[in-house]
Each structure stands twice: as C-alpha cells, then as structure tokens.
Amino acid sequence: MSAVLSLQGLTVALPKGADRAHALENVSLDLNANEILCVVGESGSGKSMTASAIMRLLPPGVRISGGAVRFEGKDLATADERTMRAIRGAGIAMVFQEPMTALNPLRTVGDQIGEMFRIHAGLPAKQIAARTLALLEEVRIPHPAQAARAYPHELSGGQRQRAMIAMALALDPKVLIADEPTTALDVTTQAQILHLIRDLQRRKGTAVLFITHDFGVVAEIADRVAVMQHGVVVEQGAASQVLHAPQHPYTKALVAAVPPLHAPPPRPLSDDTILRIESVQKTYRTGGFLGRGARVTHAVRGVTLDLPRGATLGVVGESGSGKSTLARCIVRLIEPDGGAIRLEGTNLLALRRREMRQAARRVQMVFQDPFGSLNPRRRAGELVAQGPIVHGASPAAAMARAKELFALVGLDPAATERYPHEFSGGQRQRIGLARALALEPEVLVADEPVSALDVSVQAQVLRLLAELRERLNLSIVFITHDLRVAAQVCDIVAVMKEGEVVEHGPIGRVFTDPQHAYTQALLASVPGRDFAPAA
C-alpha cells in the first residue's frame, strides 16, 4: 500500500529557552489510504505538534528545522504559503478537540461549513446550501436544516463535533487529522462520534490520523498505532501488536497504566455507616425578570446513599448528571434545598455557620482541576497549612505538619517553599490531597481528582489514594465520569442520570450485571471495553 501522507525524519525546533530543543525529533510516519493511524502519547509528547507541523500551523517561534512531509508529490515542509492554503481543508482537513471553542460563536454552523466550498470550490450559493445540508445529514445530526441555521451555542457538544466533522469532510479530503476529537465529550457521545468517524472513513476511504491520549479509544478505532514520547516516535505497528505485545518499555508502562474495566475482587466493608446522604435536593433557578423566562434545573433530586466507614463510594455519570453538585452539597459548598447529610448521625445541613466550620474539618474536598484550584500567589506549604491555622493551630506547627503531609503524599518536604506553577499536574493534585488531609478528615470528597491527569500519573495518584485510605482509615466519595477509574478505586458505585441515582450497589455487581438500561448503555459506550492490558 502506498502512503498518502508520509513524514520523513520531521524535526520541529522550539524557540530558545524552551524546556527542550525540539518539539519533534526525526519523526517518520506513513499514513496509508483507508486506514486509521492513532498517534498516542501523554501531554507534551508532541502528538498535537505533529498535526500542527503537517498543516504548517505551528505557533509563532516554532519552526520545522528538518525532514519532509510528502503529500501528493509535494513537500509540505518547504511548500509556500499559497500551496499550503490550497491543501488545508481541501487535501488535509482537521477536527479539533474542543467543539465548544473550535467553531466561531458569531456565525451559523451552515455558514461555517459553507465557507469550505466558498474558498476552495467557488460554488454558487444555492449549491453550497444544498451540499451543506447533505453533509449535515451524512454526519447524522438531528434536524439538519435547523442545525445549519443554528449558532454553535445552540447545539450540544456532540452535535457541534458532528458539525466539525461535516466541515472537515466537505471537500472529501484525502487525509483527515483528528486531534483528540472525543476527549471533551461524554462517554456515550464519544462512542457515537467514534463510530461515525470509523463509518465515514470506511465509506470514503479517507486516511485518518487520529491523535489521542486514551488507549481505550485506540483499541476501539485504530488500524495502526504510533506511540510518542518527548517528541520521538518510540514504537509503531499494527494496533493488535502494539496493544497486546508492546515492545518499548514506555509503551509497556503506558498500556499497563490503563485501568481495566472489570473491578478487582471486593474488599470486606464495614457495617458502620459514616456518611449518610438522605434525599438531598438541589434546584437551580436562573434568569427571569418578574418571573418571565425563568429556567428551573433539577440538579440533584432526592439522592439517598450510604458510605460505610473505610469504603469508597463512586458516583459516576455524564456531564449534567448532578454528580458534582452532589459532591458540593456534601461539604455544603452548595446549600442543598432539602434532605440531610448525616456524618455519624449529625446532620451537617442543620448546623449553623460556626458549627459547620468545626465540622468542615471532618469532611474535606479534593477538586478536579489541579491548575485552577490552587492560589498561584501563595506558596504550596502555606496552602496546606492554611486550613489548620484557621482551625487554631500555630503557624509553626501547621508548617511542620505541612512538611510531613508533603512526605506522606510523595512530595519533597522542601517543596513547601515553592509556588504552585513550579509543580506538574500530578504534583499539584498531590498538593490538593495534602491540603485536604491537613485537617485530618474522616471523609474525603474527591471530585474528578484524576480526570485532568495523564494516564501514568493518574495511576500513581490512584495508588496514592488507595494507600492513604488504608493508612488513615479514610472514607471516600469519589466522583468520576471515567468508568475504568471507578472500577479500580470504588467499593460501591452509584450511577447518576439527570439528578437521580438510577442504580447503585457493589461495583463488581453493577459493572458485570447492570440492571438499569442507562448503566448498560454507559458500560457499552466505554471505548475499547474489551481491552485490558495483559497483567
């Protein structure tokens, strides 16, 4: 098979003063017609940079310093801007990660798809409208005519991504580059989009360069796989071979870090309930002037759950299911409208402000975004010591305790003097854990604590969490959208949909024998659900 797109020793230089000299070093890849090549790697591996280099849309200061990109007999690495413009969109099209921001918010979807025809084909307006509609039908957007007239904010994430795909496929490009196209989507939507890409690729014979960090997605969609680390392709080959018999140590480590979907054997659970969530309700009312146009969202409706002492209760669901609102209700960051949160019998919701502050130290929270949840102007140690100081510890004692906690979560105690931006994502999440643990809580509420992390770092943080649970006898409420992660850390799981718990029980039972249709759909949507790394 001849390659449609061929990277030969492509090297991309970073500007002076960057953390490494080359974003890509000697990258050679062949993309054949009618195949999906997955480029996998963690953040900073240069996988997205490869896409930018092929399109010659590199950020300022970054340039191609060697090698060639062969496409239709031309070398794109040295082609002039005019040639590149003719190829972008028509010869090689791209789909991006964030369907929220990748479309211009001020122009209709149809207009933006039609733009492809206007710039490359110069068709009359009537024909453009017809072709746009046909494209939207092809990507199976509901109500294509309405979608064409809609602005991006009027469509859901999945619909927007369908529109993006329609736009990319408008001119039947030979190559489609998809840069993490499903990362920002819910698992059921992701399954649909992956299916759509696969289906269109088969029908049109397009060569797809699929960039992802998720081995589940790779297992689902890839014909061939290239694994990147620090700008170098460390291993490439057929999907089955790379996934099941990886050769390079980095690939082996990556594959091993993918959590399998089946749960480990259940641990014995205590009969003693530490936290009881009783028919908690939260309704949001937004907008509305003099009662007009008000919208009511039932974020959480009547959720009742028990957390046994020393256990981990997983709350899984898609975005908008109310799982994060529930987490915030437990620590009273959001005031629930009704119900009770009983911590060893004391109803937290009935406490007054001052009493709640005392009780707050027993229930602590870890947040999702390790970048946004730490104040960038305070030293890491101060952030950890802040809680105990508020609760009456002397600053010196609190700082000493912070150093111990740093050691406990696997950070260098001397690092307490540094600022949050000097830490990596995984390290920041450790700081977040240390901060929560500083008050010696009995219950930890973790809201998507590992979703923003790379898979290898994610595995480390999950291990740390399990270790701390044992050592400190913590009980954890673990909020996640990732069923693989849930399978690994949770003892009990509750599946939420539209503010209600549709099913809950021991994780092994729920995941192997789901009763509710929604749980079944959710489990069926997990990409590469049959893929489990050879242990």
Partner: protein, 326 residues
C-alpha cells in the same frame, strides 16, 4: 423579539436612574448660593428693590419650599414640560432644541471618527504585534490619551486656523454668509473638523488599545485555528472570523463612554465656541438657570440612555448568544 425584550428591560431599568439624577441635581443646586432671580437682578443692573425680587420669586414659584418646588418640577416633567427659562426668556425645550444639533453632530462625528480609526489602527497594530507599526501606533495612542483635549484644541487652532489658515477657528457656521443647501453642509463640516479631532482623539486612543488587546486575544482562540486549517488566508481570517468577535468589547465601551463624551464636549465646545449643549450647561450654572440646567440634565440622560439602547441592540445583533438566556 428577544432583542426587544432585552432592550425593553434595560430601558425600564434606566428610569429610576434618571429620577435619581434629576432629584440629585435639583438638590445640589439648592445648596449653591443665589437663585435665578439674583442672576436676573444682576443682569438688570443690580439695584436692591426687595419687592421686585419677591414678586419675581413668586412669579417663578421660587418662594415655595424645596420639596414643593421639586414636586412641581417632576409633575411638569411627567407632562413633558421642561419649564420656562427666565434667563433666555423662552421655553427650556426651545432653548435646548436650538443647541442640540451642534452637540449631536459633534458627538456623532467624534464617535464615528474614534470608532473607525480606533478599529483600523487597533487591527493594524495587532497584525504586526511588536513590529514597528505596532510600536508607532501604540506610542501615538499613548500621546493622544495623555494630552488634555483643551490643549489639543488650542494647538490645533494655532496651527490650522491661525498659521495655515486652512480651517475656521471656531463657531458652528459662517454667520451672515447665508449659505444654503450643500454649501451650508460643507461650511458646517469644515467648522466641525477641528472639534471632532479634538474630542475624538482621546477616545480613539482608548478604542485603539481595546481593539488591539481584544484582537490579540481572539487571534489565539481555537476557532481562528479552525479557520486557518480550512485554508483561509490571513486577511479573510481577520475579516470573517476575528473582527466581529474582537469588536464586542469595543461596542460595550462605546455605550459606557457616551456620557463621558458628552462631558468632554463641554470643554471642546468652549474652546471652539460652538453653540452646543455643553456650553449651555456651563452658562446655566453660572446664571443659576435651574430650569434650563435640569432640562439639559434630562436631555443628556435621555441621550446616554438612547446611545446605550442602540448599543444593546447592536450588541445583540452582533452576538447571537446574548438574550438566549445563557
């Protein structure tokens, strides 16, 4: 429809503001020593006939208590009667209407000038960020922003009117020339060139900075990358995708600054002796012409509210996300 609902709500919300402004100004002027009658008597050549003064006060309703005067005024206002100016000897509405065109014209031309050139220069600076055009434009902007507008006006008169004799030094039109039709329009236009530049430059500097910053921000957004990946050339990327998005903050600013611009026109009208609202306001304060002053406050407030209303409509037109409830 949603646009009008939004605009209607804004309009309703501005009514209390208007009332507070009027009452505030009314009470503030009560604190100033002297009233219209004192000013009138002084104009008539002084003389202290207490009986005449008392009669005049009774005639103008100035002998009533302050709350009663305020009540009277507001009640007249509800009937859209702005009262009678004792200084000018005609209804306030007439006095204001005579002066309004000059101010409106000045504001509109200064705003258009500042908006258009601020936009163009901001886009140019952003396209060549940190290059020499950017440095030049940004430095010029800083100079315009830092220089007081009356000084600009005076220097412009010295250079263009006195030395070069290209443009008239002041006034709204050539009085007594009796121009009509197109010739008159041209005449007014030449008279307005310097005032427009003087009033507009400071706003130009602000708009230019805002436009540059928001262009730079929008140029980094994902959809711009999408547009480039579609094969659009840089000019089309800027015109079709960046410009409208980058204009949103600037449009907001125009609405916010309509009031500031009205304030700035007081200075400019004085420097160029233009018969506008700003000058009228200054004169009525000096002459304690309360009715006229309140009338001006009322009309300017209406003007600012109208500009904001238009900006709201424009904004909703530019950005489909507005008013969608999200």
């Amino acid at each position: 429809m949603r646009v009008f609902a939004l605009a209607g709500r804004r309009l309703a919300a501005s009514l209390p503001t208007l009332l507070i402004i009027l009452v505030g100004v009314f009470l503030l002027l009560q604190l100033a020593p002297g009233d219209t009658v004192d000013a009138l008597m002084a104009q008539m050549g002084g003389g202290g006939d207490a009986q005449v003064a008392a009669d005049l006060r009774a005639f103008y309703g100035l002998d009533l208590s302050v709350p009663a005067q305020l009540g009277n005024y507001l009640w007249r206002l509800v009937r859209l009667d702005l009262g009678f100016s004792s200084i000018y000897g005609k209804p306030v509405a007439t006095v204001i209407l005579e002066r309004l065109p000059a101010t409106l014209l000045l504001m509109a031309s200064a705003l258009s000038f500042a908006f258009f050139f601020g936009l163009v220069l901001g886009v140019l600076a952003a396209r060549r960020v940190n290059g020499w055009p950017d440095t030049l434009i940004s430095t010029l902007g800083l100079v315009f922003y830092a220089t007081p507008s009356f000084w600009f006006g005076l220097m412009a008169i010295v250079l263009f009117a006195v030395h070069l004799e290209w443009l008239p030094a002041g006034g709204f039109e050539e009085i007594g020339a009796g121009y009509t039709g197109l010739r008159r329009v041209l005449d007014i236009a030449t008279h307005l060139v310097l005032p427009t530049l003087t009033l507009g430059l400071i706003f130009l500097a602000i708009y230019l900075r805002i436009m540059r910053a928001s262009m730079l921000e929008v140029l980094n957004l994902d959809f711009v990358r999408t547009a480039r990946a579609k094969g659009l050339d840089e000019t089309r990327v800027v015109v079709k995708h960046v410009l409208r998005n980058a204009m949103l903050p600037m449009v907001t600013l125009v609405g916010l600054q309509a009031g500031t611009m009205l304030g700035g026109s007081v200075v400019v009208e004085s420097v160029f002796s233009l018969p506008g609202l700003g000058r009228l306001a200054y004169e009525s304060v000096v002459q304690r012409d309360l009715n006229t002053l309140l009338g001006i406050v009322f009309v300017s407030a209406l003007l600012v509210i109208t500009v904001n209303f238009i900006v709201d409509l424009l904004y909703a037109r530019l950005d489909p996300r507005i008013g969608a409830g999200g």
